[in-house]
Amino acid sequence: MILEARDVRKSYGAFVALDGVTLAIGEDEFVSIIGPNGAGKSTLINVLTGALELSAGSVRFRDRDIAGIGPVALARLGMARSFQLVQIFPELTVLETLQAAVVSRLGLSAKLFSSLRSDPRVQADAMEVAALFGLADRARTPTRALPQGDKKLLDVASAFTLRPQIILLDEPTSGVSTADKHAVMEILVRAARQIGLRSIVQVEHDMDIVFGYSDRIIALHQGRVLADGAPAAIQADARVVETVIGRRAAPC
Amino acid sequence: MGGVFHAAILFLVAAGLQLVFGVQKIFNLACGSFYALGAYTGVAAVGYFIGRGGSPALFIVPLVLGGLAVGLVGFVVERGLLRFVYDRDETFQLLLTFALVLMLEDLIRMTWGAAPTSTGGLYLGYGQAHVLGTVVPVYNLIVIAASLTIALAMGWLLTRTAFGRIVRAAADNREMAEALGVDLRRVYARVFTLGTMLGTLGGALVIPATAAMSEMGIELIVEAFAVVVIGGLGSMRGAFVGALVVGVLRSLAIAVYPELEMLLIYLIVIAVLLWRPRGFFGAAAA
């Protein structure tokens, strides 16, 4: 198991967001986390990405306790994430955004006096990822000028550039038009395979996406794991259908 | 007691600063300049009043009216300058108020000259009182009482009136307030004018006990800044407590170890910023 949460409790004052969540993500898995609004998905993502201290329980990544270690240390350990609300660097170009991720991965970020332009590794690596995500022809475009779908792709692409062992995607297709959702997911999965990234965890509302790509699905409800199993099993679970999938027509 | 008088004036200026910051998120460096403007106007108004044969005992009337009237400058500044930069980065807003500091300093000098001016000894006419074993001019007590009254009035205005609710809504969440039909432009214009008036009134009220000098604004900004940092940016209660802390500590320092007078305040500011960057009441905006 690469990422494990055991009996995680997280409460804010009297409000209990997570109430004893236990789950594990293995290598070579594509896991989706689903649940209605308020089920604790966002809190869970924050717990799994080391952004929060826990009220109880533990969360371990490659056998290291990562509770509250923060994003920087987490990226070093080999876990990357993307955000529900697209996060980009508006003034930087696509290429620069990806270069920044390469710089971070290669530990060059404190090199004050070396030239970025003449570092072949950084250039090649960034261009490779741009190509993977179909952004190569827009490499010199300022990010703020990209269409929404490309911004979303770039957000994910820059996380991929870190070449993490696992990536947590917070609603990778939110804000993308229904028509483009599958295209985005195709690019994503293909890129993951080529980069050698094996474990993907996503939080997603779109059940077509969830059932179309997942190896395993974890359903959350009221801060607890309602069900955890293969897509077929989940689809057959009456409680899950009632609380989560029932409204599958309505995208959020 | 000297510290309390100083605190009363500081509160008025800091309250103006807080109100504007709380609602418009602009840190108004020109609050000190408005204070100086109020001071000079106060002197001019009293001079005019006495020159026209007004009773010296009533000098406080033109003083207050003058101080409030010149506060309308705030409306001009808000409509003429600030409204263009609300959607800009706060750095630009800060710099715009710095531009105001530069302009107002020279405008005051052009209008009133460089020499210090004052209302003479008028305020001595109110006599002295004995408070806690020390002699205090009655005028100082009047100012302290006025400042307290204004503090209560501000509290009432912000918590008990329709205008106050709108102001607090605008302070908490601009988009939400706008969605609820609040006309932010009007709120901003009013809030900034009110904030300016608090500063100019502070300047007018202090002037009988001192003299108007062209640098008084620049000097005061740093102190007002200390007040709001200690109290917490944007908080009225913060302005009140911060003013008391600065006023009283300064007077304590003078009594105990005069060398520390100004340094002490900066050190407290840094300590507060590091230990509790939101100050003592920072969470409660407006």
Partner: protein, 322 residues
């Protein structure tokens, strides 16, 4: 791409021959310009590239200037090269703890904290009389340049000759180094932090650490610039570190344009020469400067560089090419 290089080469050539043609006074006025240009290059690494506005940068100008004064008067160190290195080092030593504390905050809080530290230093200079000379400040003795005393030169000849070229060399060097820094992996990381600190952290870039480095670099530049500034004046005093001076630094950067690499240098130039012209003809020059600043903020936040850029873009020549 070619036009900027042509402009740069022309400006460089003009700077080289300026002392031969310009009136001596205007050559002396180039000295504070070049000193401030060095300060602003560093300041803009913090402002334009990292997104942090320091309202206490005069602190480091003061540290640099006083380092120069202390070295030349108390320790008999007269080599300007040593003075500059020491000024940079002193600024870094002060900036290390101050920066570590300040970079934990952003925006208005960062500005206020730097302002408070600046005022502490100002008060220190004023209060600790025996150490700093209080309001009278300290002398900055004429330093040697490249081991040369230039003893045969009058002060004016020294300033508009050797010292001018020395300052120019320092400015060129500082510009080159800064160019290198903003084009380095580090420079790129600063821009990511400016644009979106949350995303930067998720990419494994430590926001406080990089901000701290940027703070240190900008302080070193301010220190070097401060020392450079002290020689023409020949005296350093606390007003160098007063908060309004920090305000002027921000003003200059904005005047030139913070989103352009050369903007701050242009800003320093425009500020110094505008101040000179206005001060001589109008006693209320602060009013003029305030109005200029207000106009800039409202109508031209890109500063002079922004204006030049938009004019260049609008010109028919450019339009035809694109």
């Amino acid at each position: 791409m070619r036009a900027p290089f042509t402009v740069l080469a022309a400006v460089g050539a003009a700077l080289l021959v300026l002392p031969q043609f310009a009136a001596p006074y205007y050559v002396t006025l180039m000295l504070p310009f070049m000193a401030y240009a060095v300060v602003l290059l560093g300041f803009n690494l913090l402002f334009g590239y990292t997104g942090l506005v320091s309202f206490g940068h005069a602190l480091f100008i003061g540290v640099g200037a006083y380092t120069g004064a202390v070295l030349t008067t108390r320790f008999g160190v007269r080599q300007m090269e040593v003075v500059l290195l020491a000024a940079g080092a002193a600024a870094a030593v002060v900036a290390a703890p101050v920066g570590a504390l300040c970079v934990r905050y952003v925006k208005i809080y960062f500005g206020m904290l730097t302002l408070a530290f600046g005022m502490v230093f100002y008060t220190f200079l004023l209060k600790f009389y025996r150490l700093t000379g209080g309001d009278e400040g300290m002398r900055m003795l004429r330093p040697s340049l490249l081991g040369q005393e230039w003893a045969g030169f009058s002060k004016t000849a020294y300033l508009i000759g050797p010292y001018y070229y020395f300052s120019l060399a320092v400015l060129v060097l500082a510009t080159g180094i800064m160019w290198r820094i903003v084009g380095s992996p580090f420079g790129l990381c600063l821009k990511t932090i400016r644009d979106n600190p949350v995303k930067a952290e998720s990419l494994g870039l430590s926001v406080p650490r990089h901000r701290w480095y940027a703070f240190m670099v900008s302080a070193v530049y301010a220190g070097v610039g401060g020392a450079l500034l002290a020689t023409p004046t020949g005296n350093v005093d606390p007003t160098l570190a007063y908060w309004t001076q920090s305000g002027n630094v921000v003003f200059m950067v904005l005047l030139g344009g913070f989103s352009s690499f050369f903007g701050p240098i242009l800003g320093a130039f425009a500020f110094i020469f505008l101040q000179d012209a206005v001060m001589s003809v109008f006693p209320y020059w602060r009013l003029v400067f305030g109005a200029v600043l207000a106009a800039l903020v409202i109508a031209a936040p890109g500063g002079l560089m922004g204006l030049i850029g938009s004019i260049a873009r609008r010109s028919p020549f450019e339009a035809a090419r694109s």
